[in-house]
Symmetry: C2
DNA sequence: CTGTTAGCGCATTCAA
DNA sequence: TTGAATGCGCTAACAG
């Protein structure tokens, strides 16, 4: 099928022969040039060009115990929330020669375990998790594997290892405090059914000092689900003044549905989102939200990983990146 | 730092000893159970449980020449267009034990080459590309590496190897034909500046039989860029009747800006997108678009890869998944 | 059905 | 600064 049947990829052996040096000298010329004479390095590099040599990292990793791979685990790739994190993580790791192996859990603890096992078998130098490790079994396995782990997008009393995140309860409190300041009485919540969204809801309700009518929607949230959620909330509470949403996608849907029903936003219904998605600043009305620097989470995680793999001591293995509320038109009343 | 310093992960050697069989028998019990007696398999599995053994796929891959890894290359993770493809690809490959290694090119040919080299060094059993391989150098390297390649999201006269995609020129023609049928005279284009969006524009203009005023925006396209694009197009052509956009994100932005300027959509301005993003069916007005089954592209690619890796003959290495126009409110006039 | 032998390609010991 | 030997953990061959 392949027209040019592969003429056997060159190995380091071929490079060494072509350069007229020993195998190990060739190896050092490429991997540890400081220890080799300049002339030899040049010979070896010429031989690399001539042979089209590409190092076999499987073999290198087997011996050196450094695979230069990092496992990255997400619930699902389609969760827009995590994309900037993954993108920054991948890019930052690439600058140090690491590549990311992707795993998806589908929000399922059993799948999380199996995907982690598959990862561990690949001997990654570290594992990055969006969110916290769910199952206790998986936590134990990770600990025993000795692989550095970075959990993210959350805080925890007992992280598996390192952590870059923020407090969802505090986010909920902050939004709750903002709502209190506006003196809205009839309030509703449209929330994803995942753990982190529930934590934000908890913080929100605690600060308001009462339970708030809530509609839960399945992940991943979307404009469509936001529209439906508003309908259901209005059924529960026809005179709603304000809605707190667990994502900007939901908030957008709530706004679209509100406008379609002839409600003015924010005059008749104020709406707040979460995540500071790219579109939120440019819709009409623009969407008030909570900004979290997802890309920064990815960059910081990458730096922790690289530092740890270099054997450096990490004096701050848990980083709280915080968040900030952004008031836009959808709540500006 | 890790509280429990790893007590040396168990190897197959440990499992064999615990099970009282030879190394290779343990290997077969796990990897090729059909050839081993039931009693032995049970003994080995018990030993696996007892030791907490996780196979080292680096070592296995080195010997067997099957790494069970597939390289996946995207311009950037944040290009929403490709997410369903990647998600389906990853999930489908996982069912056969393969995992995806991620690479990002940032739409840059040099980076494409370097990321491909990094991939090849990891000995993936196949490489999946969103789009076609850009640089000739990279094409040659891939061919010589002998690694199965699936290009996607496009068609080509001379694919590197396998291909799952569709014709962007035909998409443009189809939308052009649709516009012709509506008898709109004053038409504009808001287009991404990438190769595939340009191909669609070419097809569109060819079918219309003339050049069409165009605003190009940088990737990744967004609602914000759509709003700006409409402004620029109206500067060029104040009495625009219809706009063809290279993505639903752009179309959405164009619509938002149009409504903000007091234009009715579609009565004053008709707008068509591309990609059938999830929100397009639920905005007001809903967005006419071209549907491409991105998830199906991922699934088909995964099946091609798995089949090829099994040594099966691929009788159809190039698959055209086609597309279909979806008329919604934004052009229903 | 099971075991023995021999490497996969490279980097970490050592020694020169 | 360079080289020779050794083995990482596993599996493809062959034998029994």
């Amino acid at each position: 099928m392949n027209p040019v049947s592969a003429p056997k990829p060159a190995t380091l052996h071929d490079v060494a022969k072509a350069a007229g040096v020993s195998l190990i000298t060739a190896s050092r010329a490429l991997g540890n040039p400081g220890v080799v004479s300049k002339a030899t390095i040049e010979k070896v590099q010429a031989a690399v060009e001539a042979t089209g040599y590409i190092p076999n990292r499987l073999a290198g990793g087997l011996k050196s115990k450094r695979s230069l791979m990092v496992g990255g685990i997400v619930p699902a790739l389609s969760v827009a929330q995590f994309l900037p994190t993954l993108e920054a993580l991948t890019a930052e790791l690439a600058t140090s020669g690491y590549q990311l192996i992707l795993g998806q859990t589908s929000y399922d603890a059993a799948q999380e375990e199996s995907v982690l096992d598959a990862m561990i078998g690949r001997q990654p130098d570290a594992i990055f998790m969006t969110g916290l490790v769910q199952s206790q079994k998986a936590r134990d396995r990770l600990r025993r594997s000795g692989i550095p782990v970075v959990e993210s997008w959350d805080l925890s009393d007992r992280p598996v290892d390192m952590l870059v995140g923020f407090s969802h309860v505090k986010v909920g409190s902050a939004v709750g405090g903002y709502f209190l300041g506006k003196r809205w009485k009839r309030i509703g919540i449209a929330s994803g059914d995942d753990h982190r969204a529930r934590m934000r809801r908890d913080g929100f309700q605690t600060t308001l000092g009462r339970e708030v009518p809530t509609v839960f929607v399945p992940a991943p949230s979307s404009l469509e689900l936001g529209r439906r959620a508003l309908g259901e909330l209005l059924d529960k509470e026809p005179k709603l003044q304000a809605i707190c949403c667990s994502s900007d996608q939901l908030a957008h849907g709530v706004i679209v549905e509100a406008l379609a029903r002839g409600l003015r936003v924010p005059q008749d219904l104020a709406v707040c989102g979460f995540g500071n998605a790219d579109f939120g600043a440019h819709t009409v009305p623009s969407i008030s939200t909570v900004h979290v620097d997802g890309a920064e989470i990815g960059r910081l995680a990458a730096r922790l990983i690289v530092a740890r793999c270099k054997g450096e001591v990490i004096d701050q293995p848990v980083i709280d990146v915080g968040f900030r509320m952004i008031e836009r038109q959808s709540t500006a009343i």
